[in-house]
């Protein structure tokens, strides 16, 4: 199986602070890959490096088989990204933003308009023609950001917390589309704190701890069949048990609460 993402010894420092330390990771093509870690463990920094937002301090990145750097314009055209902060241009209407995104990714005007209309309908955003993105609810903004990530039909899709704030019907639709994407051999790189979602959606998972250190990577498809994952001689029935074991259980006693 070819790799969609190959990361070797990735390190990212902010001054003296190490955000990601010597991270090596391989994401097989055509998989739904879950990238997990506690708050502040370096997930978003890693995604920043993998998508071109941040400059790695050290290490190498290969995306879709090619080296990835600042000048990898052609590679970026094959990627779709939904950042955690969504990255919307708030003064635009949804259709204008999606049209802009489509045009920037090389779609001609007619195809762009067609896809924008389809996506707006599919995302139930059809009646928002005169509403700026700044006026959208959190869930609507998330839908727009998802639409922007997929509008160019990317080979590799990065999704940072894609389901937060979206209603159950919207989540179901997105999950269905994600399955379709991976069935076509394309790759989804997903981060979320909702471990049940990862358990049901992803076949491969990587777990990192502070500061961006990989502590586990493996296949979790057994959990979907009521099986277990074995690690250090212990059997884990859920991803949550494994995650808490690897990252350290933290329960603080608040007497006044």
């Amino acid at each position: 199986m070819t790799a969609a993402i190959e990361v070797a010894n990735l390190t990212k420092k902010y001054g003296e602070t190490v955000a990601v330390e010597n991270l090596s990771l391989t994401v097989p093509a055509g998989t739904m890959f879950g990238f997990l870690g506690p708050n502040g463990s370096g997930k978003s920094t890693t995604i920043g490096c993998l998508t071109g937002l941040l400059d790695p301090t050290a290490g190498s990145i290969r995306i879709l088989g090619e080296p990835f750097g600042d000048s990898a314009v052609a590679l970026k055209r094959r990627m779709g990204v939904m950042p955690e902060s969504l990255g919307l241009f708030d003064a635009l209407y949804a259709h204008e933003f999606l049209f802009f995104q489509a045009r920037m990714f090389g779609l001609d005007a007619e195809t762009a308009r067609h896809r924008v209309s389809e996506l707006l309908e599919a995302m139930e955003l059809g009646g928002t023609g005169k509403k700026r993105l700044s006026e959208f609810s959190a869930g609507m903004r998330k839908r727009v950001a998802f639409a922007a990530a997929v509008i160019s039909g990317p080979d590799l899709l990065f999704l940072d917390e894609p389901f937060e704030s979206i209603d159950p019907a919207g989540v179901a639709s997105i999950k269905q589309w994600l399955h379709k994407i991976t069935a076509q051999g394309r790759t989804v790189f997903l981060t979320t704190h909702v471990l049940e979602t990862v358990e049901r959606l992803c076949s491969q998972v990587a777990i990192i701890t502070k500061p961006g250190k990989l502590v586990w990577q493996g296949d979790i498809s057994a959990l979907d069949r009521d099986g277990t994952i074995s690690h250090d001689g212990t059997e884990f029935r859920t991803l949550e048990q494994l995650f808490l074991h690897l990252t350290g259980e933290r329960y603080a006693q608040l007497d006044w609460l």
Binding site: L53, V81, F89, A94, E96, F105, G126, G127, G129
Partner: protein
């Protein structure tokens, strides 16, 4: 009234102000503010309060001098706060205060107590108090009466600034409001210079004006600072009435402005105007320029400055009747033309990424060289500013009271184009080196970074004072005889702009993480 909680909020406001000094720009701003404050204190002690009081007492016209000083300070504070936004930015909105245990009246009080305790109003109060204390020291007034009067005057001053700013903010959001603002701006810029000389000449007009002015807050306060006897109750009542009326007016405007303006459900309509305009920049640039154009055209701040740029040019040029012939208008117009294109777009062009919020992240996800984004944004500012220069030139040729001369037109065009390139070249650097996260939705309030403020205010002053100096030292005939100098000067500005774009593109990439941190509020 929950006074402890309200003063906790005042304390929080000052902590937030202090927190801004933790950034590099904040520390520079703090240093400059402290430096300026020290200078102002000296001015206050010498020429301001005490000096004015001394003159007032020695001249035997204490009340007249007090009226002039308080009136001048009142107007200056009003204009400075409304135009620059200092002291009228809402520290806490009503919605933000709803999370605390405050009822509606307490929230109103909290907003205005934090508002009036902003440093700028404390400084204005210091100036007012300087005069009233000086008058007391020189034996022309009662200390406590004067202090009470200037405190009430400050409240009226603050409330009037708030009323004006809220009214303008509201007008800029309603249909037709922009046209009303445009007319108001033109009137404000042109009417005083047209009306005041006539009023001064007219018989009885001065007395009538004084009678009307007697009902204004500065005149009422001036009477109280020098006169403890007759009319005391009347003047206190007058100040109280102004404050009450302004409070009612402000509440009414805020209520009107707070009405939701959410758009009704509508299907997406493809408005291609922006794409058509943007297409002149080529297929790669078109989507980026189209996006930037929408930002420029939809920003109330830009729209307000854009419509105000031509009246400002008229003000700079025709403010004082030209003694010695109409050619003097041409020399002053040179300064105006240099800055007019920049004035219209400066709030956005000096801080190109400040309005993008999280959208800034997307620039580096797009399959293009990041320098293209900087280029597109700058081209948009040049294009929008260029329309102002073109309009100004057409208006000059059609209406200026100066005989047509091709050399004048060439010089004005060169000044406009050169100024546009110079200021937009400098704006690239303020955008990259002094970025600031800014709200797209507001019309008022100075949200520019220190660097952008220096560029905008410094550039404006340099243009106005520079041409005044040129006019006085060389005279219009000599300026016109060297008309050809404007061409290489404009060419130099174009070179500077082009070099800034090229070097700025590399700086944009190398500083992207620092920009991201600044725009997302991290140091």
């Amino acid at each position: 009234m929950n006074a402890p909680l309200i003063f906790q909020l005042v304390g929080l406001r000052y902590k937030l102000l202090w927190a801004q000094t933790r950034t590099r720009n904040g520390r520079i701003a703090l240093f400059l503010a402290a430096y300026l404050f020290a200078i102002f204190i000296v001015i206050l002690m010498t020429a301001g309060g005490y000096g004015a009081a001394m003159i007032a007492v020695r001249s035997g016209h204490a009340e007249t001098v007090a009226q002039a000083v308080l009136g001048g300070l009142f107007l200056n504070a009003l204009v400075a706060s409304v135009v620059t936004g200092f002291g009228i930015n809402t520290a806490f909105t009503d919605a933000a205060l709803r999370r605390y245990a405050l009822n509606a009246q307490e929230r109103l009080a909290a907003r205005h107590v934090t508002g009036i305790l902003e440093p700028v109003w404390i400084f204005v109060l210091a100036l007012y108090l300087g005069l009233s204390t000086g008058l007391y020291v020189f034996g022309a007034g009662n200390f406590w009466l004067g202090a009470a009067a200037v405190l009430l005057l400050l409240m009226a001053n603050y409330l009037l600034a708030r009323v004006l700013a809220t009214l303008i903010e509201w007008l800029s959001h309603v249909k037709g409001g922009t046209a009303v603002l445009f007319l108001l701006l033109i009137s404000l810029c042109l009417l005083p210079s047209a009306l005041i000389p006539r009023l001064v000449r007219a018989h009885g007009a001065r007395h009538a004006m004084r009678a009307v002015l007697g009902y204004t807050p500065p005149f009422a306060a001036a009477a109280l600072t020098v006169n403890a006897g007759a009319g005391m109750l009347h003047n206190f009542g007058l100040l109280a009435a102004w404050i009450a009326a302004l409070l009612v007016l402000l509440a009414a405007i805020e209520k009107q402005a707070a009405r939701p303006r959410s758009a009704a459900a509508a299907v997406a309509t493809w408005d291609n105007r922006y794409e058509r305009i943007a297409s002149i920049f080529g297929p790669t640039m078109a989507p980026l320029v189209g996006r930037s154009l929408r930002y420029y055209m939809r920003s109330n701040k830009v729209r307000f400055n854009y419509i105000g740029a031509l009246p400002a040019l008229a003000f700079i040029t025709f403010n004082n009747p030209a003694a010695g012939g109409p050619l003097h208008y041409f020399v002053r117009a040179l300064g105006g033309f240099t800055v007019v294109g920049f004035l219209g777009t400066a709030v956005m062009s000096t801080n190109q990424f400040g309005f993008d919020a999280s959208g800034f992240r997307r620039y580096f996800l797009l399959p293009i060289a990041p320098g293209e984004i900087l280029r597109a944004s700058s081209y948009t500012a040049m294009f929008v500013g260029g329309t102002l220069v073109a309009a100004a030139l057409v208006l000059w040729v059609l209406f200026a009271p100066v005989p047509f001369d091709a050399r004048i037109a060439t010089m004005l065009l060169a000044a406009g184009a050169g100024g546009l390139c110079l200021f937009n070249g400098l704006s690239i650097w303020t955008s990259l080196l002094a970025p600031r996260a800014t709200s797209f939705e507001t019309t008022f309030g100075n949200q520019l970074s220190l660097g952008a403020n220096v560029l905008l205010i410094g550039g404006l002053l340099a243009c106005i004072l520079g041409v005044m100096l040129l006019d006085n030292l060389a005279g219009p005939a000599a300026v016109l005889s060297y008309w050809w100098v404007s061409l290489p000067a404009a060419a130099l500005a174009i070179l500077f702009y082009s070099y800034s774009l090229r070097l700025g593109a590399a700086t944009f990439v190398s500083r992207r993480e620092r920009l991201l941190n600044a725009l997302e509020g991290r140091n």
